[in-house]
């Protein structure tokens, strides 16, 4: 019982203090692993890799994974599922409360030119933040930066298969405005067939 209470408390705290997205929760998880024996540092590399490559927000995936492992140690798969759910709900509860409060405050200032002007500055800046994230995603999907740094030849910088797929998908997406699922699933199939 003590373990699940500690788990709920620790993940609530993580959700409350980790600002700036899923990976911002990582230092908190290492801290938890250092202080309790129900979470082990050795699971972290697998946890990060799996959380990044499965669907869903990374922070949420990591919480479910940590919770599952903590529960599994206590009493097998059933406990794992329960603890995974508990960790996830504890992580998102502070967000839920904070956002509802912020939304209410913003509603009160709906006609304030000050808030309106603040958002006029925020929207393009956030667009810039996301553009930088897009660049990172593109580089890791279509470029071989590591290989390029070793060989120094531009020919080795480009992952040709990935670039061809990128151009094709981009053209299709622009022309037909499909639901993202119809870009993701064919890309997965192409990846398997052409052994990307």
């Amino acid at each position: 019982m003590n373990v699940i209470l500690a788990l709920i408390y620790e993940f609530f705290k993580t959700g409350l203090f980790a600002v700036g997205g899923g990976l911002a929760t990582l230092p908190f998880l290492y801290d938890i692993a250092a202080r309790y024996d129900w979470l082990d540092v050795s699971i972290m590399p697998d946890m990060i890799a799996i959380s990044e490559s499965t669907p869903g927000p990374i922070g949420v995936n990591m919480a479910t994974y940590c919770g599952y492992n903590a529960g599994f140690l206590q009493g097998g798969i059933g406990f794992g599922m329960l603890y995974g759910l508990a960790a996830t709900l504890s992580l998102i509860l502070p967000s839920l409360i904070t956002i509802i409060i912020v939304a209410r405050i913003l509603d009160k200032f709906q006609n304030s030119t000050l808030v309106d002007n603040a958002f006029k500055g925020l929207r393009p800046a956030v667009c810039g933040l996301i553009a930088s994230a897009a660049l990172t995603v593109f580089a890791s999907a279509c470029l071989e930066v590591d290989l390029f740094e070793i060989s120094g030849s531009f020919a080795s910088l480009f992952d040709i298969k990935a670039l061809v797929l990128f151009v094709l998908l981009f053209a299709v997406n622009k022309k037909f405005k499909l639901h993202p699922v119809f870009i993701i699933i064919p890309a997965a199939i192409v990846g398997i067939i052409f052994e990307m």
Partner: protein, 184 residues
């Protein structure tokens, strides 16, 4: 009640096809929330992202709560939030319980390589959309460059960008307002 379940299942779909961080959710939000359901405009989604960046918690969750709350109050916020995390809980539990060596399968590795290209396409297209809606003048271009440059060249927290953008926006508003007042 119908709206609440609609929020839950729409955000569950979004959660199930978000590969990567909160920004990877953007193409799904634009398609499902802005174009199909018309629960928010492109501008509002950017506002939610700005708030989500600077408040505690996972950005995807913050955005879901915001849109849900705006549609159907506190319960709407709860349903949208539970929706966006539901696929994670199921998928991660299944992987942790039954397929620990999931990432070692070659098929998974190839599929993920393909998916990461798709995510790059979708996120870049989403940014182009945002640019069209959010960057309207020279001041917008300036703020865009600040956000982009800080994020690419430093490891400062996104909160720095948010604070600078708020100050920039308010200052710009004051300057243009006093000019408009003088002129008209």
């Amino acid at each position: 009640m119908k709206l609440l379940w609609d929020l839950f299942f729409t955000f569950a779909r979004i959660g199930a096809f978000t590969f990567g961080g909160g920004y990877a959710m953007l193409p799904m939000i634009q398609n499902e929330v802005v174009e199909r359901k018309k629960w928010a405009t492109e501008e509002e989604v950017m506002n939610y992202y700005a708030v989500g960046q600077s408040t505690p918690g996972v950005i995807a969750v913050n955005t879901a709560t915001f849109i849900g709350y705006r549609q159907a109050g506190v319960l709407g916020g709860i349903f949208a939030t539970l929706g966006v995390v539901a696929p994670s809980v199921v998928i991660i539990t299944v992987i942790a319980a039954f397929i620990r060596n999931f990432l070692e399968y070659e098929v998974v590795e190839h599929a993920l390589a393909g998916i990461s290209v798709a995510v790059a396409v979708l996120v870049i297209s989403a940014v182009i959309n945002l640019w069209k809606k959010g960057v309207k003048n020279l001041f917008g271009v300036f703020m865009f460059v600040i956000g982009f440059a800080i994020s690419v060249f430093t490891n400062w927290s996104p909160i720095v960008v948010v604070i600078l953008a708020v100050i920039g926006g308010i200052t710009y508003g004051k300057v243009t307002n006093s000019k408009a007042g003088d002129g008209k």
